[in-house]
């Protein structure tokens, strides 16, 4: 489709005007979500320059090309500052792939259906929590705010629906590299999360019966190496986002489950890793423990929304490249995202947090974060937590959900500390060395198996 009546800078001016005037609907040529509801496609919502990088850069960089230090200047304004730095100074290469226009490839099926079904029903209540309009009940599933009117509404999308699944079991593998490119630490960890509200695939409705006052249950347990193996934590998130989660931990040294405070969220979980609790989903803390949420921009961007699943590789492990030893970055594909929201917030509930501000780029097509930067208290750029999202399909290989459709989710993360030069790169594997396999919306007994005090006592060794 070629829409010639709009000149090249139309979308840039349009986004600037929308941001300054506080107009919050997604889409340039037409409203995005009604279009998605009608067609499942996004093409008609954006002019040509926002549908292909070739058009956007007037042919300087096109789909199929690889962004390197040699051509990155042409797309500098489409990358977050850390990704730009990585390409220019660290040898990172980014393959450009065509834009995903079929929105069914940007969501799990059930989640997209719930999003469309429930659109317009979410409000923020007097406390700032998401509620169903008219009933005041907890959220009923899908993205609550398709056209966020504030930074808080935008981040509520992340906090309430980070994975777009009712539950998941991730098999995460992590490598932590020094600034010199040496792999200093490596971990395997499992993560299980189950939503208590906003369920989209449950035959019993939107709520987990008896748990309606909770947002979700989340546990993480380390599988390797030996000195952290068996360390496991259970987070029980309250639905009220003013409250901190309940945190219970099993530490092998203690051989028992103990309760822990949960307000220290800006520290590495284990030695060497650059990931903080606060980083998960770019919204790792209860959203109302942060403040000054605001939408600061709207723009096109490059981000990973496809071609990030390596089902053709053993244990789905992506190849690596770049950095001092050629192993700092996952091989990454990015596509031109026609419209992202740029959100900022400050950790007002954490007076001594080392983070002064976070900036999150949300793809309006599915409201996932495609880039996430934090800044220290001096305002200096500190960390990037860049996730790659994708359908789990590649060529003739696919990882199918229970209804036979390729599943979808985050595939990898680059967590890079700009100030120390340390990189933690994680990806979601098919299985861990202990035989634990990744799974979406399963197993059926995940709550009992992974998300109780009894469970983390059993998982600890």
């Amino acid at each position: 489709m070629h829409i010639k009546k709009y000149d090249f800078d139309y979308s840039r001016r349009f986004f600037l005007e929308k941001t300054t005037k506080g107009l919050m609907g997604a889409g340039v040529l037409t409203s995005l979500w009604p279009l998605i509801g009608n067609t499942g496609e996004i093409g008609k919502a954006y002019p040509e320059e926002l549908q292909s990088l070739e058009a956007y850069t007037k042919g300087k960089v096109k789909e199929g090309d690889v962004i390197t230090a040699d051509n990155v200047e042409h797309v500098k304004d489409l990358l977050d500052p850390v990704a730009y730095l990585q390409v220019t100074q660290m040898g990172r290469r980014i393959k450009v792939v065509p834009q995903t226009k079929d929105v069914t490839k940007l969501h799990p099926h059930d989640f997209l259906e719930a999003t469309l079904k429930n659109q317009g029903q979410a409000v923020l209540d007097a406390n700032g929590n998401v509620a169903v309009k008219d009933t005041g009940k907890a959220w009923i599933g899908g993205l609550p705010f398709l056209n966020p009117q504030s930074g808080l509404e935008a981040l509520a999308n992340l906090t309430l629906t980070g994975s777009h699944h009712d539950q998941f079991l991730y098999a995460a593998r992590d490598w932590d590299l020094s600034a010199q490119g040496e792999v200093e630490y490596a971990y395997e960890l499992a993560v299980c999360e189950k939503n208590a509200v906003g369920l989209v695939s449950s035959p019993d409705g939107a709520y987990l019966q008896g748990h309606e006052d909770k947002l979700k249950y989340s546990s993480v347990w380390f599988v390797t190496p030996n000195d952290v193996k068996g360390t496991s934590f259970l987070n029980i998130w309250k639905y009220d986002q003013r409250e901190f989660p309940d945190l219970f931990g099993y530490l092998p040294a203690f051989k028992r489950v103990r309760r822990f405070p949960s307000n220290q969220r800006f520290e590495p979980l284990v030695p060497g890793i650059t990931v903080f609790l606060s980083d998960f989903w770019a919204a790792g803390d209860p959203m109302l423990t942060w403040g000054n949420h605001k939408i600061v921009g709207r723009q096109p961007m490059l981000g990973t929304q496809s071609d990030a699943w390596w089902g053709d590789k053993p244990n789905w492990e992506p190849p690596v490249h770049g950095g001092p030893k050629g192993n700092t970055f996952w091989d990454t594909s990015m596509e031109l995202l026609p419209e992202v929201l740029v959100i900022e917030a400050e950790p007002t509930g954490f007076p001594r947090a080392p983070v002064g501000k976070k900036r999150v780029w949300l793809d309006v097509r599915n409201m996932v974060y495609v880039a996430y930067n934090t800044f220290d208290r001096k305002g200096e750029l500190w960390k990037s937590f860049e996730a790659g999202w994708s359908q789990q399909a590649k060529g003739d290989k696919a990882n199918l959900d229970s209804k036979g459709r390729p599943d979808w989710g985050p595939m990898h993360v680059h967590s890079y500390d700009v100030q120390s030069g340390r990189m933690s790169r994680l990806y979601l594997a098919e299985q861990l060395s202990n035989g634990m396999k990744a799974e979406y919306n399963g197993p059926p007994d995940a709550y009992d198996k992974y998300l109780t005090l009894q469970a983390i006592r059993r998982l600890g060794t």
């Binding site: 200093e184 030996n226 051989k255 405070p261 220290q264 001594r352 947090a353 080392p354 060395s433 059993r458």
Partner: protein, 650 residues
Amino acid sequence: MNKRRLLKVAVASAVPAAMLWTAQTMAVDVAISGFIREEAAYRIGQEPNPSLRGSAYAKGPQTNTVRGNPVSEATYAAFTGQDVTNPASWVLPPAQFQKEDFNNDERWNLMATRAEVDFNLKFNENWTGFVKVRGYYTADIIDEYGKPNNFKTNMTGLNGDCGNRLEVCDRNYMIDLPAAYLDYNNGPLWVRVGNQQIAWGEALFFRVADVANGLDLRRHSFLDYASEEYADERTPSPAIRMSYNLTQQWEVETFLQMFQPTIHPRSGSPYAFINSPYQIRDDIGFDDYEDFVNGGIRFNGQFDQLGLQFFMVSRHNPDPVYRWGAGGQTALDPAFGMINGQVFSEQVFRASGLPGSPVPEGGGTYGSADWMGGAALGGLDGVEALNVLGRDFPFIGGFLTNIAGVSAMLDPSGQGMLPNADIANGIWATNVQEALPVFDMFFSILGDLDADIISSYPAENVFGAGGNYIFYAEPDTLLDQLVVRFEATYTPDRKWTNNVARDPLTQNEWITALAFEKYHRFSQNYPATFFSLQWMHKTASDFVGRPLSTIGGTVTKRATGKPKGWLGDGWDGFSFAFQQPTPDLKWRYDFSVLYDIFGGYLIQPAVRYKPSAAWTVETYATWMYAKNTESVFAPIEWTDEVGMRVGYQF
């Protein structure tokens, strides 16, 4: 190995054997990991372990109180067959016992290599398994009377000569399976079957609800890295443990576990805290208890900020109650003949160095000062221990009665050496002045002495409850996410060592602990500092389980007990600890203090360095102080040391 022991080992080995068989015959995911670690500790204190080498507590010349007292000298003459009417002819014992000093001033307390290999097994979604193999080798860093025995216990094990059922050992190595179990999980049900540790409660280092397992103190006693608590010490045992989530809030958990006692450091090993002339015969003691099963049940509840637990455990207390055993030294039976229907070998003592004694001459307790000093360090009343010997062993009772009678006859005043004896009620000595010459009479006749002490593990029921509560307040304030934990147990008719008597001391006991924990961030640049402050209160015994009624003795004073400290009745202790990691968690600085209200403390600063995934280096220093023998630290006050561990994991 006899058939009975073979059967028990087979039962204990059933789970690991089944796992091995299953792993070989069906598709099982097996993950293997482990580490090897060098562990060393260097003594920085001036004094060596007083419980080594024939009671190094007393060395050099020791006063013989038989001498200088005409009545006791005459009594000695009578007992040695001399003419009591002619003092000039008496051949008296030396005025001083020469207590040999065997101390070599070795400085290394520990020089060991540890290897642990873990096998994680996954059979299917419901069945998993875990096996940990632990190997521990210690170099011969001390030499008491030959090479020390660090591990051989002759209680149980694959060859019947070790401490745990799934263990092989020799004097300087042990290999065991601290964990070898199968897990079955189906919905709210979880069953764990096999060799395992069970830890209840939330207090750290203070064992209140942690009543399921005893401690194996043969490796580094409990003096290793304080922040690891008792992970390495807690003795595993074959058990069936079941848990069921009754509701979202409540869980019930129960266990049945083959009895496995606490194992103290072996006599003659670097960290021994029982005086070396006294052989710990837990091999004999355990024989009477190895068929017993301990069991417990608890209910756990979690209600937002409040956590609760209620439990009851019916058990044989794994912490031993000691009593004297018969010495069995028949070599002297003819010399002493029959006294009160017993021969010499049926009473406690052995003349060290003579046939039938495992201790060389000079290695036994020698002299009343040595006796009283050793007893005081062990939390015993040295005077009452004499009466215990008389009551429990007719041979000694008769001997004491003879001393009382003969000395009274030889005393012009008619009082004799034991003027206040109430023999009908089994009391011979009533104070230290009376007891010292009697002890020295023994030593003057027999020389230095050694003996056996036999463990027993009386039954008891422990009732307990606990809770935790997390406070919420304004960020950065003292109360913000302060975790408060409380635990209490009540044990009616608990039994303790009663001056090594056959009949244990019996008393009800309350144990409570109150803990405050908080993570607090002092700066934006450093991760939060973890603080822990705990208070423990015990009504009848101290931190290490010595009954309060028998502590506090000295060389010249019998123990009168210490029923209260400045906080009131009972023993109280406080612990304070903090941990401060660096921003990347590569370094962590720990500091731990344990304060004994009776006058003592332990301080341990430590540093942990983890430069890479494979390597970990930990170093720490431990200082202890005991004001006197009332302090729990008195027996181990010598243990000022610097330790280092260097580990490589795979």
